[in-house]
């Protein structure tokens, strides 16, 4: 957290001109809490999960993608396109692994992922309507996409949504 503060304050170069102009002198943090349901199936593989940020009129920003990062020869990326909506929205334009974005798959349970503005794929958010999108794709299993509306004001914002099959509750809280 200390590090992310420093980057947000001094790392103007990684921010776009628009966000840099509007960036207040405090760092934002987006906390995304998601639940991967425990499924009693004969063959279970941890899902590939992508989290990205959408705003109308702006390109999607990948915040995190969880996959088999440790496969030999970067072999895990072959199946990233199975996170199909993310692949179209953002994934196919990324080179992975990417610092601050790639991560290992997670076990069933509730996980909190924090994204500090200016670090990894997370921009500083100006007030407006955003959508945090979480998509989970499981090998020999299902695929589900949950869209969390996030109305950002000067004081932050929060939103939540729930999946039915491959994702449980998803919460997004932007604080500063």
């Amino acid at each position: 957290m200390q590090i992310s503060h420093k980057i947000a304050l001094t790392g103007g170069g990684v921010l776009s001109a628009a966000t840099a102009l509007a960036a207040p002198a405090t760092a934002q943090t987006l906390d995304v809490t998601l639940t991967l349901p425990r499924l009693s199936v004969a063959e279970y593989h941890r899902p590939y999960v992508a989290i990205w940020l959408e705003k109308e009129g702006a390109p999607a920003r990948t915040l995190s993608v969880l996959y088999d990062v440790d496969k030999r020869n970067n072999g895990g990326v072959k199946w990233l396109r199975d996170i199909r909506m993310w692949w179209r929205a953002s994934g196919r334009s990324l080179t992975l692994p990417a610092d601050g974005i790639s991560g290992a798959t997670r076990a069933p349970g509730t996980h909190k992922l924090s994204f500090a503005a200016g670090k990894g794929g997370m921009p500083t958010l100006t007030p407006g309507k955003y959508t945090v999108v979480v998509e989970a794709a499981r090998e020999n299993g299902g695929r589900e996409l949950v869209r969390v509306p996030l109305n950002v004001t000067a004081t932050g914002g929060k939103g939540s949504a729930t999946g039915k099959f491959e994702l449980g509750a998803v919460n997004a809280i932007l604080s500063r």
Binding site: V77, M85, R92, S93
Partner: protein, 293 residues
């Protein structure tokens, strides 16, 4: 004359086996989205069928032509023509959009030889016309039947180098990239006929999986003055998008010179031979696109 017109019609019907009727020509890619790691494989099925995408007609010995993302032509592997379909593989070695196309141009027509009208043999192409017409033949009449079947796949991000046109038959120029389609979003395609905007043509889009549903779910649109149509995709999956021009039958679509009841009842050999109404050129275009959702 009348007899000849009937013959010409018959010939036209035979020259395009199953292609002008209800059966649909198509290619189906195993994937349309690739990571672009350089060592991935695509398999394509190619067939004619009435149900999309099932195999229920004889396999066709079509020659697929693949355009790689840099615009060069690249080879397919393991091409085999089976009883009900053709199949082949393609190595996806570079990033960008690949075009897989099957094109077919055939000539229908006839010529006069020693006072008799003879049909061009079935399977005559522009390249074989010179040898198909014997010495001394006069009044050679031809019409072209062009078929183009396409599909597209992309490794990494879509690009547009493969969408060059030839000016022959019906061709698709993307406004929306065919590998960038999603549920609920509108996609626009432009169609050209012999290089010019194909205005006023009927275009259909039908999702695959016809066999197990009651509703065909066909979407209909007509090209505007620029030859453009727009579809908004109601669900995810593979869609067959097709348009054709010329040689249509039925209400309002009768080709000129295809024999009105009046001319059919005219006595054989009556009057002097009138100039033939040339058979109409025909063109068919069909592509398979994947809609994400």
């Amino acid at each position: 004359m009348t007899k000849f017109r009937k013959l010409l019609l018959l010939a036209a019907a035979f020259t395009l086996p199953q292609m002008a009727g209800a059966a649909r020509p198509w290619m189906l890619p195993s994937e349309t989205m690739f990571a672009g790691s350089g060592n991935e494989w695509l398999t394509v099925d190619a067939a004619i069928s009435s149900d999309l995408y099932y195999f229920d007609h004889p396999g066709q010995d079509w020659q697929p032509v693949v355009t790689a993302p840099d615009g060069s032509t690249t080879q397919v592997e393991n091409r085999a023509v089976g009883k009900l379909r053709q199949t082949f593989d393609l190595g996806i070695k570079s990033k960008g959009t690949y075009k897989i196309a099957i094109t077919n141009a055939m000539l229908m027509g006839s010529y006069m030889l020693n006072g008799e009208r003879k049909m061009l043999p079935r399977g005559t192409t522009p390249a074989t016309l010179a040898t198909a017409v014997p010495q001394g033949a006069t009044d050679v009449q031809t019409a072209t039947a062009t078929t183009r079947i396409e599909t597209f796949v992309t490794a990494g991000e879509p690009d547009r180098k493969v969408f060059t046109t030839t000016g022959k038959g019906l061709e698709m120029v993307p406004v929306t990239h065919p590998n960038d389609l999603a549920v609920g979003e509108a996609a626009t395609f432009q169609f050209l006929l012999n290089g010019k905007p194909a205005a006023g043509l009927d275009v259909v889009a039908i999702p695959g999986g016809i066999r197990y549903r009651a509703d065909l779910k066909q979407m209909d649109a007509k090209t505007d003055a620029q030859g453009k149509v727009t579809f908004t995709w109601p669900e995810a999956g593979m869609y067959w998008v097709s348009v054709s021009s010329g040689g249509r039958r039925g209400p309002g679509g009768e080709a000129p010179g295809t024999g009105s009841p009046q001319s059919q009842s005219a006595p054989e050999g009556s009057g002097s031979p009138r100039p033939m109404s040339p058979a109409q050129d025909r063109a068919i275009y069909a592509m398979t696109v994947e809609v994400q959702g």
